[in-house]
């Protein structure tokens, strides 16, 4: 399940990718920052397209790193500061492929997933976030 409204459980993702053949495992977590009074971010998506796009991104990663196994989950709904909105786990026989596949997937996610965030602030105000290039 690529999209969820529940807390992301890294252990579940690790269990899906790790095996005795894969000696390198890499996890990326994106968590909600406490920027300028932000108390949480409300994530919404074009869910059907996001699922399709995630499938395509993972299939492309598999083609490029056939020995690696990569999974990802994106959380939707209101996510409080400090909790994760996205988790990616990549495991491969060696670390280079695990890091590369994980990095590739998060960069594609940023470019391609139809997901939007609205920042909620302590003073009750809300603001749609436009994409930016921070890495």
């Amino acid at each position: 399940m690529h999209l969820t409204r529940h807390r992301l459980e890294v252990a579940d993702l690790l269990a899906e990718v790790q095996s005795v053949e894969r000696g390198g495992t890499c996890v990326f977590l994106g968590t909600v920052r406490n920027d300028a009074g932000v108390t949480g971010i409300d994530y919404s998506a074009y869910e059907a397209m996001a699922v399709e796009e995630i499938e395509r991104i993972l299939a492309e990663a598999h083609e490029r790193w056939p020995d690696a196994r990569v999974v990802l989950q994106h959380r939707l709904g209101l996510i409080p500061v400090g909790e994760a909105s996205i988790a990616i786990a990549a495991a491969a026989p060696h670390r280079d492929a695990a890091f590369a596949a994980c990095r590739h997937v998060i960069e594609e996610v940023k470019q391609r997933l139809p997901i939007w965030k609205k920042e909620l602030r302590g003073d009750g105000s809300e603001k749609w976030v436009e994409a930016h290039d921070h890495r």
Binding site: A48, E52, V109, W128, V129
Partner: protein
């Protein structure tokens, strides 16, 4: 004339006042034609950028992509997932 489904998301849904609707256009049309029609039918969407990001049947496309009757065009605000 052909009927094309249109979807709006996030800030664009607020501007349109709805998230799912349909417009009639002369088909085959382009995504740009559909967007022009959307601007007429949903006055709030006149505030959309001149060339918004769009998806046709759940894939991102350029605005000159061909749209046929029964297709779905989604107008996507700048993506901010992750």
């Amino acid at each position: 004339m052909g009927k094309v489904s249109v979807r709006f998301f996030a800030r664009y849904a607020e501007l349109a006042g709805c998230s799912l609707s349909a417009v009639n256009v002369q088909t085959p049309a382009t995504v740009a034609d559909v967007i022009s029609r959307v601007r007429e039918v949903f006055p709030g969407t006149q505030a959309l950028p001149p060339r918004p990001l769009a998806a046709l049947n759940q894939r991102q496309v350029k605005l000159d992509a061909t749209v046929n009757e029964g297709d779905e065009v989604a107008l996507l605000p700048p993506l901010s997932g992750g």
